[in-house]
């Protein structure tokens, strides 16, 4: 008890956390004073050894991990619960969304998804001039960054080339804000290359947007579709993800006698244990927490209880492959050697097959979706998802070629962060061609950082390098994720990523 109390005191008196950040951290600590959801002994042991990991989501899951509301409902119908009339003008629509965001639960305490903004706002733009639209988006963007300052907060645009998407890209490059994170859903048949070029030019300006391979994602999801949220998770719209648990592949490899033992014995064992962990947590959410009962989000059709998936995460592929290579007496390293890369691809294929065999009650389509998990700031000695270790990445083309065969297996998201050196600023055509090639060959997501940008990606969220410097000088930061970025920078050396940064998801106990 004294330990718990002193933990609470440390949060309450932490000079670098804001009032809001403390409130959230205290709530997480309180939840964790409850007993953990009921686990069998074998699952418990694997969790305690952190071979499987619950992302420190909390002992008593009382909200889904990610909620992706269908904001079209509140724009179309207004909200009886919130006493909001149906909006008629662009100002009213934006205002309605701003109100809606405050009622969306998530693991971070801030929404991870704020809508397919162009599709939502276009119907309100008739008679609005381009200049007015630009000014209104600019205010909207400022509101998001100042009121909901969380880098996991994600807006989607595309696949069409339209006025709102263009205004958003213009404002995003101009303001260089951490929030919102942004994904363009690219469809070569619909978006057009001019739009792709605009996106890659924006990447050079501010390392955003992230570009999703829309045709590939679309075929995974039924109506009303999907959204890319948080750290590049592809999830059902009007639902989301109930929970995310992950396997540390490095630890599984260390428990294996060799490749055959890994693929045929240890991996099946830990897939089974991770699935048990997920079932226990999801069961608590659906049958005990009461989250969906009497919830106006359900009643007004923003979310549908049947559209929450379970994210089956894995990470440390690189370390697992290198360890298995060592056991086999081979020197080739993951990301650089064809034999090592092929071993990685076999592991992904095996994982997809094993996860497919695990039924899950309550969740969308009755099964979990494989996810290359982008990491926690506390992960040391491991590389996010299936990525190549920080600082050892090959050139961007070899990088994409090495990881491409993984992508088809990770239906709920996989992302690499390609680091481009500053010379690309003088040659934006090259970034365009790189993105086009990657998407054409089946990369699910294209994400890049350009060296020299203040705004960089840490595993999946955006941070400002200047904020990290301030935070480390103990001044605190307005933005929630800076603490994670700073922690990740110290623990997992993300700033060593060749020119700069990328990658992580979050701090234990908060979100994403």
């Amino acid at each position: 008890m004294t330990e718990t109390l002193s933990q609470l005191r440390r949060i309450a008196t932490n000079p670098t956390l804001s009032f809001k950040q403390k409130e959230h951290a205290l709530a997480v600590a309180a939840e964790n004073m409850l007993p953990y959801v009921l686990l069998d002994a074998e699952t418990r042991a694997a969790l305690d050894a952190r071979i499987i990991c619950d992302m420190y989501e909390g002992n008593a899951p009382y909200k889904p991990r990610y909620v992706l509301p269908d904001y079209g409902m509140v724009l179309k119908n207004g909200s009886a619960h919130l006493e909001l009339p149906k909006p008629a003008t662009l100002d009213e629509a934006i205002n309605t969304l701003q109100i809606a965001y405050h009622h969306v639960p998530s693991v971070t305490g801030m929404p991870v998804f704020i809508g397919h903004l162009d599709a939502l706002l276009l119907p309100f733009c008739d008679g609005v001039s381009d200049d007015e639209l630009y000014r209104k988006i600019k205010l909207f963007w400022r509101y998001i960054d100042r009121v909901l300052p969380d880098a996991f907060l994600h807006a989607d645009i595309g696949p069409t080339d339209n006025r709102v998407a263009r205004a958003i890209l213009r404002v995003d490059a101009e303001l260089q804000q951490v929030a919102p994170n942004l994904t363009f859903l690219y469809d070569p048949e619909v978006s057009g290359e001019a739009m792709l070029r605009l996106c890659t030019d924006n990447i050079i300006a501010c390392s955003k947007p992230h570009i999703a391979n829309h045709p590939i994602h679309r075929e995974v999801f039924d109506e009303p579709g999907y959204a890319i949220v948080s750290c590049y998770n592809a999830l059902p719209l009007r639902g989301g993800a109930a929970s995310l648990s992950r396997i540390n592949l490095k630890k599984v490899a260390e428990a294996s006698a060799g490749e055959a033992d890994f693929l045929d014995v240890q991996l099946p064992r830990y897939v089974d244990l991770n699935a048990r962990l997920m079932r226990a947590r999801i069961d608590y959410l659906f049958r005990q927490s009461g989250f969906f009962d009497g919830n106006f989000l359900v009643e007004e059709g923003w979310i549908d209880k049947d559209r929450f998936t379970a994210m089956f995460g894995i990470f440390a592929m690189a370390e697992a492959v290198d360890h298995l290579q060592d056991l086999a007496g081979r020197t080739g390293r993951y990301g650089h050697d064809a034999t090592a890369n092929a071993l990685g691809h076999r592991i992904s294929a095996r994982l997809a097959e094993l996860v497919d065999r695990e039924p899950m009650e309550h969740v969308w389509r009755g099964g979990a979706m494989l996810h290359a998990q982008a990491g926690l700031s506390s992960d040391a000695g491991t590389t996010p998802g299936v990525r190549i270790p920080y600082g050892s990445e090959p050139d961007p083309v070899s990088h994409v070629q090495a990881l491409l065969p993984h992508h088809r297996h990770y239906l709920s998201g996989v992302s690499e962060i390609l680091t481009l050196d500053e010379t690309v600023r003088a040659n934006p055509e090259a970034v365009f061609q790189l993105a086009k090639g990657a998407l054409q060959l089946g990369f699910r997501e294209f994400t890049a950082n350009v060296a020299g940008n203040d705004l960089v990606r840490v595993t999946g969220f955006m941070i400002r390098l200047s904020d990290i410097k301030l935070y480390n000088a103990a001044k605190g930061s307005r933005v929630n994720t800076t603490a994670l970025g700073a922690e990740a920078a110290d623990t997992v050396h993300i700033l060593e990523r060749k020119p700069r940064v990328v990658g992580l998801e979050l701090m234990a106990g908060s979100g994403v």
């Binding site: 083309v397 070899s398 070629q401 500053e422 003088a426 040659n427 090259a430 061609q433 060959l441």
Partner: protein, 289 residues
């Protein structure tokens, strides 16, 4: 040489500084200049299989097999000891590649590429190989989107250019110096061919970029910059000029002790050129601290 084979010192699937867009760059071994300021001196010579490098290799990657020195990339730790030991500025790690080998690499990476740039050494020393390679690329429908560039010092007579130019989209031409004696001192060779090539390429509409390396006290002198401006005028108003700055990276011999070209000196030269009416002057986009 040719018969469809060339000595390749290196290739890249990602380069953003060798022409427009992302380019596959093929570096061919051997040069007809002997630049004292060369950043890649190990690309100059042609291997004589003397074996001097075999003894210094710490990993056993080099062996003398019959008359040939053979490199095995497996154990090689990329320490470059062999490069330092070579008396002829050659490279035992050079591989012999056929046109078909290069085509296979281009096909594998085609979706990521805007084009192919052949560099060196001096690319035009391998003229027959260039012709065979470019002809094969032009004949491959899945490579139709690639533009074909040559990076050259221009030491090739007009007859040589006539053989390759129809297959080529653009040439990046390095002029090393204007004053003939300086050029000879810096490169070992006169500059008449190089200057004639600049004019020939510009007239043919194939001069993509004229490059000039600024070396303190040598090529940054006012008379050199003035001559550069004159040449740019003569070549036409659309001439793209790229100024590079001499740095020590890779340089061997006395030039390693010369001062590096400072940023403000490059900016000053660029300002003089712009004032003289050269519209398109590029300077390095990245400066090493």
């Amino acid at each position: 040489m040719s018969d469809g084979i060339a000595a390749v010192s290196k290739f890249l699937t990602w380069s953003v500084v060798d022409g427009p867009g992302n380019r596959f760059v093929l570096f061919l071994q051997g040069c007809n200049y002997r630049c004292v300021t060369c950043h890649n001196p190990h690309t100059i010579g042609v291997c004589s299989d003397c074996g001097a490098c075999v003894a210094v290799c710490p990993s056993g990657a080099l062996t003398k097999t019959g008359r040939k020195v053979v490199h095995d990339p497996g154990p090689c730790i990329a320490c470059d000891s062999c490069l330092a030991a070579c008396p002829t500025r050659a490279n035992p790690m050079v591989r012999r590649m056929t046109v078909a080998d290069v085509l296979a690499l281009l096909r594998r990476n085609a979706p990521f590429l805007n084009g192919l740039t052949v560099s060196g050494g001096e690319a035009t020393l391998h003229l027959d190989f260039l012709i065979d390679l470019f002809t094969a690329v032009r004949a491959a429908p899945e490579l139709a989107h690639l533009t074909l560039f040559i990076d050259s010092n221009g030491h090739l007579p007009a007859e040589g250019w006539q053989r390759i130019l129809a297959l080529t989209d653009g040439v990046m031409l390095d002029v090393k110096a204007f004053e003939p004696e300086r050029h000879r001192r810096l490169t070992g060779v006169g500059n008449d061919l190089s200057l004639a090539s600049a004019k020939l390429l510009a007239e043919a509409g194939k001069l993509y970029e004229l490059r000039f390396l600024l070396i303190p006290g040598e090529t940054d002198r006012p008379e050199e910059i003035a001559a550069l401006a004159d040449l740019a005028h003569e070549l036409g108003p659309e001439t793209r000029l790229r100024l590079n700055a001499f740095q020590h990276h890779g340089v061997r011999g006395p030039a390693a002790g010369w001062p590096a070209m400072p940023r403000d000196g490059v900016e000053a030269a660029a300002a003089v050129l712009r004032a003289a009416g050269v519209a398109d002057v590029a300077v390095p986009s990245v400066w090493l601290p």
